[in-house]
Amino acid sequence: MKKLFSALLVAAFAATMVIAAAGEKLTIAVSIRSMSSEYHMQYVAGAEAFLKTLPPGTAEVQVLPCESNDDKQINDIKALLASRGKNVILFVDPNNAPNITAIAEACEDAGVYWCSAWNTPEGITPFLYEYWVHHQSCDGVKQGYDIAVNLFNSFKTPGKGKILVMQGMLANTANTTRMEGLDQALKEYPGIEVLDSQAGDWDTKKALNIMETWLARYNDIDGVWCASDGMALGIVQALKAKGLEKKVGVTGVDGVMDAIEAVGTGDLVCTIANNGWMQGGYGVAYAYAAYTGKISPATMTPRERMFYTNGFLVNAETLPQYRKDFIESVPVYDYNNLDFPIARPMEVE
């Protein structure tokens, strides 16, 4: 009798909790570097686009900007988990790779489903955790390859010409993967000759200085393969000073607004927008699917748990489409099709 009573009591308590939980709104948290970052705010817009697909009043989006502070990112997430319990799902762009372990532990303890993007230390993967649903990143190799091919084909004789290579920061993942893509493209285009390669450290000013000096040495340049938009804008500035803009093709990666504009004026051949809307939208969509039990990390395939996403290549041809879909409106995706953002699986040893 006593046992039955206790069981009833526990059941009643559990039921109350479930009802209470059901009455409470789900918090969709997005942890980003800064609200002043154009790209990170695309994540938030993506999460809000996903929120619109849920029944009204059942959830809300909360932004956790860490202002480039590792501790603040971890503390904010822990505080949120402490106050909201299991009624949270999370999408995180770790400020620095090592942060991810602390976040994974906190979510594991709280039983909160979450997804991440870009940075994770080697060997730290979602497969080690129950609640870490997926890790995604832009495909740097594809980006490097795509802008290279675009550049090579924009030359007077497509596929034939002399280029200079402006790298980002050596030993930086984004740089090494983009360079790998360039190397692949160079193998396929034997008519392309690389005159020199320098590291501009993602720095507009440094890229400008290097380009100026290059112009003193090389007077027969067809294009500059450049690993980021910021540096590309510096290169364009150096070319303008010599009246060579539009005569020397320049690429970028990232899709910052000024670079998109430069594609419009013809100063840049192309850039790749990372599409934070898709990354953020599917980041929370996956976590939500796990939260509702529609998917379970334990039974998901490896390609669903670690994958690369495609960006949007912006060149003269695709610019009107990009303007229409990404600038004049917020892109909307079918969040029921969780396969959509997966460009290719990430290799894990």
């Binding site: 002043s36 320098q198 590291a199 501009g200 720095d203 507009t204 000013k205 200085n209 000073a241």
Partner: protein, 337 residues
């Protein structure tokens, strides 16, 4: 031996030492010019495209910012202090000047007033650094380093993460213009050099800076208002950083914190390599002009040679250590009796 017996040999030794030291000083003062000429000759032979009209114009263009930065720093280093605020402050000034002229982000369009306000911001921050350094009795390197960090924060805040692009016609003209084959920005830098030279050679202020750098206590006893001169020196340095920030913004056509990045180290290198030791009291702005040319030519030459930028940074480090080591050695000789 009787101690009185020493007086005459000591005086003689002292006189000999002074003659020797003057000779060494003259050689050391001329050494940077020799190094500069040697570098030009060497690079003309080994680096394709180095000794061409276009590259000389490029070098002069790239000289403008290190030269302006080093003009302010020279006075600070003459006092045996240092000013590290250039990274953040230069970035801040460069960011706000673009936000105040015709640009893609704000509607301010204040024209030349923007330049004045931006440079004045540099001046004010310089004064603040000076006041904290003097009255707070804090080492200048820590005050200015902190100031750099503060201003870098304000710089990013000013444009909220997305930098503005300049649409100001005057800036575009300046960034591409030349007069007598020399880039417009270099003329501005040379004007700052001329002002610095007058300040150093033709004013009380210049005289006092050397006096304080040589021996602060003696200077104080002669009635020089040391605190005032020190604050003025930091104000001048802040103003130069302000001008350098505006030049940087004109060069890249975009107002972002990166304008100040990696500007301080080359400027300090220029001052020290030119022959103003970190211990102060000797050297001056002409030395720094030579130093700035050396630093710019090395950077330019290494890119022409296809040397990686990381090795370039390492080479710059080696140069500054060597230059400081040489000046320290000289200083010790002076102190050793």
């Amino acid at each position: 031996m009787d101690k009185h017996g020493y007086s005459s040999p000591i005086a003689e030794e002292f006189a000999q030492e002074m003659v020797r030291r003057n000779k060494v000083d003259r050689i050391v003062a001329m050494a940077p010019v020799g190094i500069l000429l040697f570098l030009v000759a060497l690079l003309s032979i080994v680096a394709d495209g180095f000794f061409t009209g276009y590259n000389i114009q490029t070098i002069l263009g790239q000289l403008s910012i290190p030269l302006v930065m080093s003009m302010g720093l020279t006075f600070v280093i003459l006092l045996a202090g240092t000013d590290l605020s250039g990274e953040g402050l230069g970035g801040f000034v460069g960011s706000i000047v673009i936000l105040m002229v015709l640009n893609t982000k704000t509607d301010l369009d204040m024209g030349l007033w923007a330049i004045l306000i931006a440079v004045a911001a540099g001046l004010v921050v310089g004064i603040i650094s000076g006041v904290i350094h003097v009255y707070g009795k804090m080492p200048s390197f820590i005050v200015t380093y902190a100031m750099s960090s503060i201003m870098a924060g304000f710089a990013v805040l000013s444009y909220r993460g997305q930098p503005a692009m300049s649409k100001y016609e005057f800036f575009i003209t300046l960034s591409r213009g030349r007069f007598l084959g020399i880039p417009s920005l270099t003329w501005i830098a040379l004007a700052i050099f001329a002002i610095s030279y007058v300040l150093q050679e033709r004013t009380r202020f210049g005289e006092y800076v050397f006096a304080i750098g040589d021996n602060e206590r003696v200077a104080k006893n002669t009635g020089i208002n040391i605190n005032r001169i020190k604050i003025l020196v930091f104000a001048w340095s802040g103003l130069c950083i302000g001008v350098a920030g505006v030049l940087g913004a004109i060069r890249i056509g975009r107002g972002e914190v990166v304008i100040g990045k990696d500007t301080v180290f080359p400027a300090i290198t220029a001052v020290v390599v030119g022959g103003t030791p970190l211990t102060g009291g000797r050297g001056g702005v002409v030395h720094s002009l030579v130093g700035a040319l050396i630093v710019t030519i090395i950077y330019n030459g290494l890119i022409l040679l296809g040397v990686s930028t990381y090795i370039q940074a390492a080479i710059q480090g080696v140069i500054i250590i060597t230059a400081v080591a040489l000046s320290v050695k000289r200083g010790r000789k002076v102190v050793t009796k």
